[in-house]
């Protein structure tokens, strides 16, 4: 067992050496046109992955067996913890999560080596060379500042536990997904750098990169969705987004990768926006690194600061500067060679996609400026200030509204050149949306405009998708069959766009029409809220595997019919000495009922906070739709190996 730990440590060291070799040999080989040097690139990448995977599995095994001779296990685990959280504990701390980062990084490089058999060897060597450079820096970061295999001299009998907030199924899988997203963008980045080195970007390049960007984006979407869902049911007051620096850190690469997905389509189909797409690919990974920096350094204080250390921050800042600075420099020298040949008129799908990109990049920029502003203000004018949710809501929302407004118009416009007639086709849709806004406005006069506008936009997006599918079906008979036979990429696009509509509906419903009640209830008491009745049946104490809990039983009734029974809890984790809340939630299609029970009051009874949250589930349902849309698009025929080879031949013949 001890032997294994040392072997894993050694494995990481060898992986670092291989990463260094894997950077130099393929990149130099590509430059000097040495075939055998370039052919070594996949070998280096696969070996790195195997070694890191071995180390990671040893670390998992150490957590499962509670090997407290390892410092990370000692500080972050405990024998009483349920098995799943022992495993999740591997990445619930700085060292382990960084090892996971490196594992995924090398996994993606190995996948690139496996799946990219039809890639020109020189391009592949360059992609894998850049990928190895990234893993070399992160492996040295891991080994020199945050070694997961460092030991303690006298291991005690038990560990110090894991932040109880992290002991939750939603959060157990939130970091891996987010990392898959962050790190997936590294492949896109490597492709961009390779393209700059080659001095060539074409439709084939765009087609090779797209699956990587898409899968990274799907993982990011799922990861952010999981995190937001977790915050909703776990943090105790049912918000879904707090504009916390760490949340922003994941939102920024997401926004840029959305922009990248759209601009890469223009490269692939219309041979335009090449340099811009390369820049976005650099920025997307740059923001992933910034995200890692923000989370790991704790430079911006946040509720997520469970594993931070300023010294490590400096190291990541250095990595960030080298990669982003270096690649931007390379970009500045080489962007000129990316000549775009596709011309388009001002009203065209290309233009609409440019506006889409502009809005996404500006919204990312706003989030970025808002996130780092407290630092900037303190550095420049010595003011200590905060930038909180109200700022982001004001600055970010209009951009997203703009994005949603142009989306259905842009996605139905023809490529290259459109006329006003194409815009006029959408009038019935616009009228319908205004009608729905008006209807909702009439139903709830006197309240904020946000609800009706948001619902109108959501409806606009969803109907826009339906209209587009209908238009794609063409004229005449067997429309339905023709819709079914549309390429999967079109279905993916439709599903993801509808998903955005669903999420916007959910956000609008939840923010505009939430009903809230705070009161003291004695056991047996009953009260009414928004058509429901709640009865506090009992409050009892139990003992969980590694916590104590006070659990209330709350009956939810509608017209004296029992809807469901909720069990809100207050838990206390004695090892970490931390209390947590578990809300009692009854979910339904159109609303959630969300109950939190607080402390026993001195005059008897318990504080009870109840929310009716309209359309809450739509927020995450929309995220699932978006992710599923990405998956559909990923399965499209044009990314299968044989198909793209056939296409290449066709291009050559022409």
């Amino acid at each position: 067992m001890h032997m294994l730990n040392e072997l894993a440590h050694l494995g990481l060291t060898i992986a670092l050496a291989l990463a260094l070799l894997g950077t130099v040999i393929p990149l130099v080989g590509a430059q000097l046109n040495r075939l055998s040097w370039m052919q070594l690139a996949p070998v280096f990448s696969v070996l790195q992955f195997l070694l890191v995977a071995f180390s990671f599995s040893v670390l998992i095994q150490a957590f499962i067996k509670s090997d407290f001779s390892l410092r990370v296990v000692l500080l972050n685990s405990h024998t009483l913890k349920p098995l799943i959280y022992k495993i999740a504990g591997v990445w619930g701390n700085h060292e382990g999560s960084l090892l996971l980062w490196v594992l995924i990084l090398t996994l993606f490089a190995a996948c690139a080596a496996w799946f990219a058999k039809n890639l020109p060897l020189r391009l592949l060597a360059r992609v894998l060379g850049v990928q190895s450079a990234i893993s070399a820096t992160f492996l040295s970061f891991l080994l020199f500042t945050s070694n997961p295999f460092s030991r303690v001299d006298f291991p005690p009998f038990n560990g110090q536990g894991l932040n109880p907030l992290l002991q939750d199924p939603g959060l157990a899988f939130h970091p891996p997904f987010l990392y898959l997203g962050y790190v997936g963008l590294s492949v896109t980045f490597s492709f961009a750098i390779a393209a700059l080195l080659e001095g060539k970007v074409d439709a084939a390049w765009a087609r090779w990169v797209r699956p990587w960007t898409l899968s990274a984006w799907v993982f990011l979407t799922v990861g952010i969705g999981l995190g937001s869902w977790w915050a909703y049911y776990e943090l105790g007051w049912g918000g879904f987004w707090f504009w916390d620096p760490v949340e922003n850190a994941s939102l920024m690469p997401w926004l840029i990768s959305v922009a990248l997905l759209h601009s890469a389509i223009v490269v692939e189909k219309r041979d335009a926006l090449k340099a811009w797409t390369i820049l976005l690919a650099i920025l997307a990974f740059g923001f992933s690194l910034i995200g890692t920096f923000i989370v790991r350094s704790g430079v911006l204080t946040s509720v997520h600061a469970f594993a931070n250390d300023p010294e490590r921050g400096v190291f990541i800042l250095l990595i960030l500067t080298i990669f982003v600075g270096g690649s931007l420099l390379l970009f500045a020298f080489r962007a000129g060679s990316m000549e775009s040949n596709g011309v388009f008129s001002t009203i065209s799908r290309e233009s609409a996609l440019v506006v889409n990109n502009l809005l996404l990049v500006v919204s990312c920029f706003v989030v970025f400026v808002g996130t780092v502003w407290p630092l900037i203000a303190e550095l420049i004018s010595d003011r200590k200030l905060s930038v909180g949710p109200p700022f982001f809501n004001i600055a970010f929302t209009p951009l997203i509204i703009g994005l949603a407004v142009i989306l259905p118009i842009g996605s139905t416009l023809p490529w290259k050149r459109a006329t006003r007639r194409h815009l006029i086709k959408l009038w019935p849709l616009i009228i319908l949306c205004f009608a729905s806004v008006g209807l909702i406005w009439a139903i709830q006069t006197g309240r904020s405009l946000l609800g009706p506008i948001g619902m109108g936009l959501g409806v606009w997006l969803i109907l826009g998708v339906l209209v587009e599918l209908y238009q794609r079906a063409g004229k005449g008979h067997s429309k339905f069959l023709r819709i079914l036979r549309l390429p999967l990429a079109d279905w993916g696009k439709a599903t993801a766009h509808a998903g955005l509509g669903i999420t916007i509906c959910g956000v609008a419903g939840l923010t505009a029409w939430q009903v809230e009640d705070i009161r003291i209830m004695k056991v047996g008491e009953r009260f009414n809220i928004a058509g429901f009745s709640l009865v506090l049946d009992s409050v009892e104490k139990f003992t969980g595997p590694n916590y104590f809990t006070t659990m209330a039983t709350v009956k939810l009734l509608r017209e004296d019919q029992l809807v469901s029974v909720l069990y809100p809890e207050r838990r206390y984790y004695p090892v970490a000495e931390v209390p947590t809340t578990e809300a009692g939630i009854d979910s339904a299609l159109l609303r959630d009922v969300y109950v939190v029970v607080g402390e026993a009051q001195p005059e008897g009874g318990y504080a009870v906070r109840t929310f009716i949250k309209p359309l809450a589930n739509w927020i995450w349902a929309g995220a699932i739709f978006m992710g599923f849309g990405g998956l559909l698009s990923l399965l499209d025929r044009r990314y299968r190996v044989a198909h793209s080879i056939r296409n290449q031949r066709k291009e050559v013949e022409f």
Binding site: L75, W237, P245, S302, V354, K384, E577
Partner: protein, 149 residues
């Protein structure tokens, strides 16, 4: 690690309810204003929460203070000014537009305008250079072979 745990304790100690039942004002309008103000004030002890969301003692004191001032007939602005004069602008979750913050608030609209004008310039140039370029002799020859007249 100890230090981190200590911080976590401060942050999460009794995060349960934030606004307690006994704080709520009987006047619904005033209570609504109180909630709105609370949402824009930062809890000084917490990592990144408004006093409306936080259950720490200091947040509770501030909530009570806000409500007392409201009951006194103060305007929202007077209350915010008072809290700022006491704790500094750090407590404002909505940064004011004074001084350097001007750039923060304008970052969105400004970068959007820059983006639009860049696109306009590039687009015009691309249209002029590429859109009106006559075919080269080679291209014309290729067309003639594909489409013989």
């Amino acid at each position: 690690m100890r230090a981190t745990l200590a911080i976590l304790l401060v942050v999460w100690a009794g995060l349960v309810l934030a606004v307690e039942p006994d704080e709520i004002m009987t006047n619904i309008n005033l209570e609504e204003r109180a909630r709105a103000i609370s949402k824009s004030l930062r809890c000084l002890q917490c990592r990144n929460e408004s006093i409306d969301e936080s259950n720490s003692e200091i947040a509770r004191d501030l909530r009570v203070l806000v409500r007392a001032r409201l009951a006194n007939g103060d305007t929202d602005k007077e209350i915010l000014d008072f809290v700022v004069s006491r704790y500094g602008e750090y407590v404002l979750l909505t940064p004011n537009g004074k001084g350097i913050n001007f750039f923060l608030w304008l970052s969105g609209p400004f970068s959007f305008l820059v983006g639009v004008s860049c696109f306009y310039v590039f687009h015009r140039r691309a249209q002029r250079t590429l859109g009106t370029r006559p075919l080269t002799a080679q291209e014309q020859e290729k067309i003639n072979t594909i489409l013989p007249l």
